[in-house]
């Protein structure tokens, strides 16, 4: 009887069988794996499992408590919906990398020590990379390289932090880290930095908005949920109540919105919305009260679902029309009404409309900011709620399904395949279910909860906020049309300076290396030349020196003779080499050995 089975292992080992299966069987198998993992999770008891000794440390693969279980549930449920969405994809590699990605994320969630965490952290980065590269365009390959370089950097920060932490404390257990100012907390800073990169906190966020929109249609859906939400999970574990996070989160929420307003690419707009939504969770972790942490967790769970739904909607449009830029889209409502309505359920959820999932989680974080009496944080978070509705709930659907200046449809399209619609339907159902019946979500949160989302104040406040946002949008909708531009973000630094660095390596640095190389080779050449006939070579060198010295006294008979000799010697060089009998060579070797023997025998006796 197996005591405990790692749900991540179901995905990771399960992925290996995917290429073997064909057709219908493969599709059934793909859907069965997340269901198996969910059943595994549902029957899981709390505790610590799978401790493996490694040298003098103990690896813990299964730390099961309420926090890890909650994240496990939502990741597996989201993985089921996403797999259904990707069911029509023929390339096995995409399924395999998606499953490795999901499995390694579950590995991160259940990791009880820092080594295990690091291991799965890296697998997560590399398996997700292929979801970007499978798009097989030049843009996706370049964005993928930038993506993995940022994540390798983040991984190195994490590893450096872990090693320092081990040095300081002697323990690799993954619990909350010390926090303060000073060199003594260096290990915490490194780990914090590694976590922040995966959570896409500005200015370390550009990998997300750069790479996610370049991923495959189905790959991008997978990417929305796991990396950022697992980073939220590890931040809750490691750094609850770190005040810096409140401000990072509040700025992050607004930052995502501002860039989303400027964005011309539908999926990049949503990528910025992921960043904006992450801001609420980060702020909640920073506030650190039981309600705020609960709010962050609840929001991460809701966000994983509605963000996937939004990416499914935008992905369906891209799949059917081949377009994702607002400047090329519009008027699709006639052709894809079902996709529109399913997308709008996600949009209402992310905007936090009452009866949709975002409302029951977002208000919890915002409320805890209000309870802290931090008006600025509260205003920033409420402002981000306005902006989120504006970009994901109004701008994107308006420019994709409606606005068209000429009366012709820009792209003729039809509804996406049934599996995509079904996946969107299930995800949409979950979004509404959580919104209507929040107790299902609140019941599994780790802290006991005294929070009622559906109070008159909340409903009235949110309705006013969103309805009047719509009024302002309708007045200014002309300003929001797609512009054929890209928006500079912090990836500018490594894209421009990275290119300059490569130029520096290729031109000045390489030229310098060549010249050094050349000089060394000349010296080596002169040794070769010299050893061809050392006695004549030394005469040539002597004569050269003499002629140089005597040159000022030219004409001079001695100089003339030297010059003639030199010319003759150079012409004939190496000439006839003076040879000795083989015996003299042997004699030299013998002499050498004898000398060595004498040194060896007398060392330590006659001299030291």
């Amino acid at each position: 009887m197996i005591e405990w089975l790692h749900p991540g292992l179901i995905f990771i080992l399960g992925a290996l069988l995917i290429p073997v299966l064909k057709g219908k069987w493969k599709q059934i198998y793909l859907l069965l794996l997340p269901i198996a993992a969910l059943i595994d999770l549902l029957y899981m008891s709390k505790g610590v499992f799978w401790r493996l000794p490694l040298l003098e440390y103990e690896l813990v693969f299964g730390r099961v408590d309420q926090l890890s279980l909650v994240f496990g549930y939502v990741f597996v449920i989201a993985a089921f919906c996403m797999t259904l969405y990707a069911l029509h994809v023929k390339e096995d590699g995409q399924h395999v990398s998606a499953f490795l990605y999901v499995g390694s994320t579950l590995g991160v969630v259940f990791a009880g020590d820092l080594f295990t965490l690091y291991l799965f952290w890296e697998v997560m980065a590399f398996s997700s990379l292929f979801l970007i590269w499978y798009r097989k365009t030049k843009a996706s390959s370049e964005a993928g390289f930038r993506y993995i370089m940022v994540h390798i950097f983040g991984g190195i920060c994490l590893l450096a932090g872990i090693i320092l932490h081990l040095q300081n404390t002697g323990s690799i257990a993954f619990d909350s880290f010390n926090w303060g100012t000073g060199w003594g907390y260096l290990s915490s800073y490194f780990i914090f930095l590694g976590f922040l990169i995966n959570a896409a906190v500005p200015p370390l966020h550009a990998w997300l908005s750069d790479a996610y929109p370049e991923a495959t249609v189905t790959g991008a859906v997978f990417l929305t949920a796991f990396t950022t939400k697992s980073a939220i999970y590890v931040l809750i574990r490691g750094f609850p109540g770190v005040e810096l996070l409140i401000w990072l989160g509040a700025i992050m929420a607004i930052y995502g919105v501002i860039f989303a307003v400027l964005e011309n690419d539908a999926r990049r707009l949503l990528a910025y919305s992921i960043i904006g939504q992450g801001g609420y969770m980060i702020a909640g972790i920073g506030i650190g009260t039981a309600m705020a942490i609960n709010g962050s967790i609840a929001h991460a769970l809701c966000c994983a679902l509605y963000m996937a739904l939004l990416f499914m909607g935008a992905g369906a449009v891209l799949e059917m029309t081949g377009r994702s830029k607002f400047s090329e889209l519009g008027g699709l409502y006639k052709y894809m009404p079902l996709t529109f309505w399913l997308y709008m359920i996600g949009a209402f959820s992310i905007s936090g409309f009452p009866l949709f999932s975002g409302f029951v989680s977002k208000t919890m974080v915002v409320e805890s900011a209000a309870l802290m009496h931090q008006p600025l944080v509260w205003l920033l978070l409420e402002g981000a709620a306005i902006g989120t509705f504006l970009v994901a709930g109004l701008k994107l659907p308006y420019l994709t399904w409606f606005a068209r200046k000429d009366k012709r449809p820009i792209a003729e399209a039809r509804e996406p395949p049934k599996n995509m619609l079904a996946a969107m339907g299930i995800t949409a159902f979950l979004c509404i279910f959580i919104g209507v019946y929040p107790q299902a979500l609140y019941g599994i949160l780790p802290y006991s909860l005294d929070y009622a989302p559906y109070t008159a104040t909340h409903i009235i406040g949110m309705s006013q906020l969103l309805l009047f946002t719509f009024v302002a949008f309708w007045m200014l909708r002309g300003m929001l049309h797609g512009e054929r531009t890209i928006t500079l973000d912090t990836d500018w630094f490594y894209r421009i300076w990275g290119r300059k660095f490569i130029w520096f390596c290729e031109k000045p640095l390489l030229n310098f290396a060549d010249s050094v190389d050349d000089k060394v080779r000349r010296i080596a050449d002169s040794f070769v030349w010299f050893s061809k006939n050392p006695s004549v070579a030394s005469r040539i060198m002597l004569l050269t020196a003499s002629t140089v010295l005597l040159k000022p006294f030219n004409p001079n008979p001695v100089y003339m003779r030297y010059a003639q000799d030199l010319e003759e010697l150079r012409r004939l060089y190496p000439g006839e080499v003076h040879r000795v009998a083989i015996g003299s060579g042997v004699l030299l070797v013998l002499l050498f050995f004898t000398l060595y023997l004498v040194i060896y025998l007398t060392y330590g006796v006659l001299w030291v």
Binding site: A370, I386, I460, G461, Q464, L467, T469, A472
Partner: protein, 69 residues
Amino acid sequence: MGRKHLFGILYVCLTVSVLAEVVNFHGHDLWQTIPGFSALYGFIGCIFIIAASKALGHYWLQKEEDYYD
């Protein structure tokens, strides 16, 4: 259901949401106790976000699509 009806519903919702707050208001801090604060914030906030980000984009951040090529 035409556009007219939709806007009719919208106006009703707007009025109801503001009136409902007059009947029932309480909050944690001063700014939450102003009736209609959320409505005002939603309206002005939205205009501000659009104007501020467009200004930021047009004067600084928005570039041609082949900027990095």
